[in-house]
Structures are given as structure tokens and as C-alpha cells.
């Protein structure tokens, strides 16, 4: 794929690795916020190429992982209702709720469908006017415009059987929450490129300034990640804490104004609980009053659904960079991708799953 494959070029990667080694004089701990970056780092073995002491901490950047248990349980309850067509992105299907996952609900007879885009769910709703169709609208700022547009279209085109189960979360409040943690070891951030494609970079300078951390907006291919790391280390070594954009082909400082306008129309900021982390004030979006009639939580009676997380699971600490996945007692024992205990083992991009999938060799050899 053009503008993708080129950014995996091994020769250029080695140049960047050399640059990183050349620039590094001390240990540094930086967090890649985004699960997609975590995936790429482990998938390509990028962290194995870094100087000793340069540590990548995997942040709370997988929306599948951080979607609160309670919302999953509500999704399961809604999907199980007779007649409902419950549409979701594929990787939400094996996220465990309190006692089961969407696969299990589907196997018990629910009509659960994997779609590529929320617009596909809207099409399904129009094709099945007599059945309630619900889309599971999770995601960060990157995904929110797609879901917003779908609700906007549902209202505009009059698709009353469509509704959205919304659980959007926002990156900057999470960055702030991580930095506020007393045990925080994070010295710099790779910011999530595609989040910034939508939102721009304007929210980061205050954070960089307040917490005195460099923040480099970073892409997802090996060269992108290495460049993000390189720019971060250069700043760290220089004692700087600026916001830099290492992903300029996809990120503009002002973000995407059309998408931001739609988000402003459809959503409003709300407090959100992050799975494994807890409640972060003003860290999510919910449907604005004007669109509340499309809120699946309002339409289906799931207000009574309550859930508590597994006491064994330390994904909160993992997500905050306080713990490496394999340092969790349950890792690889009670908790595997087959039977994940916590959110970070659920998604193939979750920090625990990524460790399990790609690093098992090293771990067994430890």
C-alpha cells in the first residue's frame, strides 16, 4: 500500500535505530499512548532494537481495552434481547463482560454482526425496519466522527430503529490522569497520530508544559514509531518538553475542522470510567441532548446493569505504565487471550495480549 509500505523499509529503520542509539546517553521511559503503536512495536520487535534502558510503556490506548465492564455488560444485555440486531467492530466480540462475551451471547442465539463501518449498521437498520439495530460505538477521537456521522444520518434520514451504545473516551484527559498518578514513571509521550488527525495538536502544549514532558505526535509504521522515539529522546536528552509532530503527512495542527464540528454537534463531554483505571473526569463523550433519542442506553432498559472488575487483574497499573504485563501474577496463567481476565489481555493490541502474543518466546526463556 502506497504511503504505508515505504514506512516499513528496514534499511531506513536501521538508520533511525542508529540515530536513536547515537542520541541516547541515559535510560528513559516513554509511553506510547496508542494501542496501535503498541501492536506495531511488538509486532516488528522495535523495542528489541532500542538502547538498553530506553523503555516503552504501553499506555491506555486501546479503546477495546478501556471500555468499562459495565458498558460491556449493557451491550451483552441489549444484544441478548429478542429481535435486536447488535452490530459491532470485530474485536469487541471477545471482550469479556462480567460473565460472558458477545460471542457467547451470539452462540446463545443473539443476532450479533461484525461490520466494518458504523454506516454498515445504519444500512442494516434501513434494511430491517421492524427490528431494533444497535451499533456499539466505542473508540477514541479517531472513531468518534464515524459514529457521530452515523447518528446524524440516522436522524436526518429518519431511521428510528437505529441506536448507538456510546462509550467514547478522550486521550488528553487520560494523559493528564497518568501524569497525576503519584507513582508515575512516564517521562515522555508518543501521542496517537490518528487521534491528532481528527483533533489536531492544540490540546497537548498545556500538558507538555504542566507536566514538563515532551510529546511527539507519532504514526504507526516502523519508521514512524522510530522517528517518534528519536524525536522524543532528542528532546529528553536536551531537557526539552515541546510538542512535536513526527507524523505530518496525516496530522495538521488544526486537526480536521469538519469532523470536529460534527463531534461538537452530536456529542457532549462527560465523565467516563476507564476499565482498569477508574473514573477520569470529563474524559469521554456521550450523545448530546438533541440526539439522545438514539442512545441505546435510553432505549433499552439497562440502567440497572452494574458490574465490578476482577480483583486479580492489574491492568490499571499496566495501563498506567506502573507494571509490565508479565509482572502480573495472573499473566499467562489465569489470564490468557483465550480467557482474558482484564481489558489489556482482550484486544490483540492490549498491552498484556501483545506481550503474550509476541514475547512469549523471551518470557519462557527468562
Amino acid at each position: 500500500m502506497k504511503y504505508l509500505d515505504e514506512f516499513g523499509n528496514p534499511e531506513l529503520a536501521h538508520k533511525l535505530v542508529d540515530e536513536i542509539h547515537a542520541a541516547t546517553t541515559r535510560p528513559w521511559a516513554m509511553m506510547e499512548v496508542c494501542g496501535g503503536q503498541t501492536h506495531s512495536i511488538i509486532r516488528h520487535g522495535i523495542d528489541q532494537l532500542l538502547p538498553d534502558g530506553v523503555e516503552m510503556i504501553h499506555g491506555p490506548g486501546c479503546p477495546v481495552c478501556v471500555t468499562p465492564l459495565e458498558i460491556i455488560d449493557k451491550a451483552l444485555a441489549i444484544a441478548a434481547q429478542p429481535g435486536v440486531i447488535f452490530c459491532s467492530f470485530g474485536d469487541m466480540l471477545r471482550v469479556p463482560g462480567s460473565s460472558q462475551d458477545l460471542f457467547a451471547v451470539k452462540s446463545a442465539g443473539a443476532d450479533v454482526r461484525v461490520v466494518y463501518s458504523p454506516l454498515d449498521a445504519l444500512t442494516i437498520a434501513r434494511d430491517n425496519p421492524s427490528r431494533p439495530v444497535v451499533f456499539f460505538g466505542i473508540g477514541f477521537e479517531t472513531t468518534a466522527p464515524a459514529n457521530a456521522m452515523t447518528v446524524y444520518q440516522a436522524r436526518r434520514l429518519g431511521v428510528p430503529n437505529f441506536s448507538l451504545l456510546v462509550s467514547h473516551v478522550l486521550v488528553p484527559p487520560a494523559v493528564a490522569a497518568i501524569m497525576e498518578s503519584p507513582r508515575c514513571r512516564v517521562q515522555a509521550f508518543l501521542a496517537a497520530g490518528h487521534v491528532c488527525s481528527v483533533m489536531g495538536t492544540g490540546e497537548y502544549p498545556p500538558l507538555a508544559a504542566k507536566y514538563r514532558v515532551p510529546i511527539v505526535v507519532t504514526g504507526f509504521e516502523p519508521l514512524d514509531i522510530l522517528e517518534g522515539i528519536r524525536q522524543t529522546i532528542v528532546q529528553l536528552e536536551a531537557g526539552e518538553h515541546e510538542v512535536r509532530n513526527a507524523y505530518p503527512r496525516a496530522v495538521r495542527a488544526e486537526g480536521n475542522p469538519a469532523a470536529m464540528a460534527m463531534l461538537d454537534d452530536v456529542f457532549e463531554v462527560t465523565d467516563r470510567t476507564w476499565r482498569g483505571i477508574g473514573m477520569i473526569p470529563r474524559s469521554g463523550w456521550r450523545l448530546a441532548a438533541k440526539y439522545r433519542e438514539f442512545d441505546a442506553e435510553e432505549r433499552f432498559d439497562v440502567a440497572g446493569v452494574r458490574a465490578a472488575e476482577s480483583p486479580l487483574c492489574r491492568s490499571g497499573e499496566v495501563l498506567q505504565g506502573l507494571l509490565k504485563p508479565h509482572q502480573c501474577e495472573a499473566f499467562g496463567k489465569q489470564c490468557t487471550p483465550r480467557s482474558p481476565l482484564g481489558a489489556t489481555m482482550v484486544s490483540s493490541e492490549g498491552a498484556c495480549a501483545a506481550y503474550y502474543a509476541y514475547r512469549r518466546l523471551e518470557l519462557v526463556q527468562l
Binding site: 502506497k2 540515530e19 434520514l157
Partner: protein, 84 residues
């Protein structure tokens, strides 16, 4: 999160009042909503996530980035120091 890939716009047509494009991702084509890149035109690249173009891809910037990477080694070799 946020798996987004670059694709080239092959054609644009309106559906349900929304601009939709046929986008080429190398070996794959898919229909993509252009609502958020109203200025995009045929032949341009967009960054696509869950069926939506979330940004125009800046080709010149992409090439500059790659060119910078190419140069890096050279500069290092020539000048023995890391540029910023």
C-alpha cells in the same frame, strides 16, 4: 487503536446526501465516506478509518519525511552528528 490506512480516491459520488468515494488501497477497494474531507478530489490520498476519511494525506510531507530518513545516514556519515 485507530487502524487507519492511506488510500487513493478513484471516484466520488453522492449517496444519501453524503459524498462517498471509491478508494483504492493498493490491492483492495472500498467505499469510503468523504464527509470530513470535503475538499478531497479524485487522485488524492486520504487516511481512512472505519470507512471514513479522517484526513487528507499530505503527499509532499510524506515524501519529505522519507527523504529526511534517507538523508539521515548520509548526514551522520558526512558530519558525524544527529540533526534535529
Amino acid at each position: 487503536m485507530c487502524l487507519a490506512v492511506p488510500g487513493r480516491i478513484l471516484s466520488i459520488a453522492e449517496a444519501d446526501g453524503v459524498p462517498m468515494a471509491d478508494v483504492d488501497f493498493g490491492g483492495v477497494r472500498k467505499s469510503v465516506c468523504l464527509q470530513y474531507v470535503p475538499d478531497a478530489s479524485v487522485g488524492e490520498y486520504v487516511v481512512v478509518h472505519v470507512g471514513f476519511a479522517i484526513q487528507l494525506l499530505d503527499e509532499r510531507s510524506a515524501q519529505e519525511t522519507l527523504a529526511n530518513f534517507e538523508k539521515m545516514g548520509l548526514i551522520e556519515e558526512e558530519f558525524g552528528e544527529v540533526p534535529r
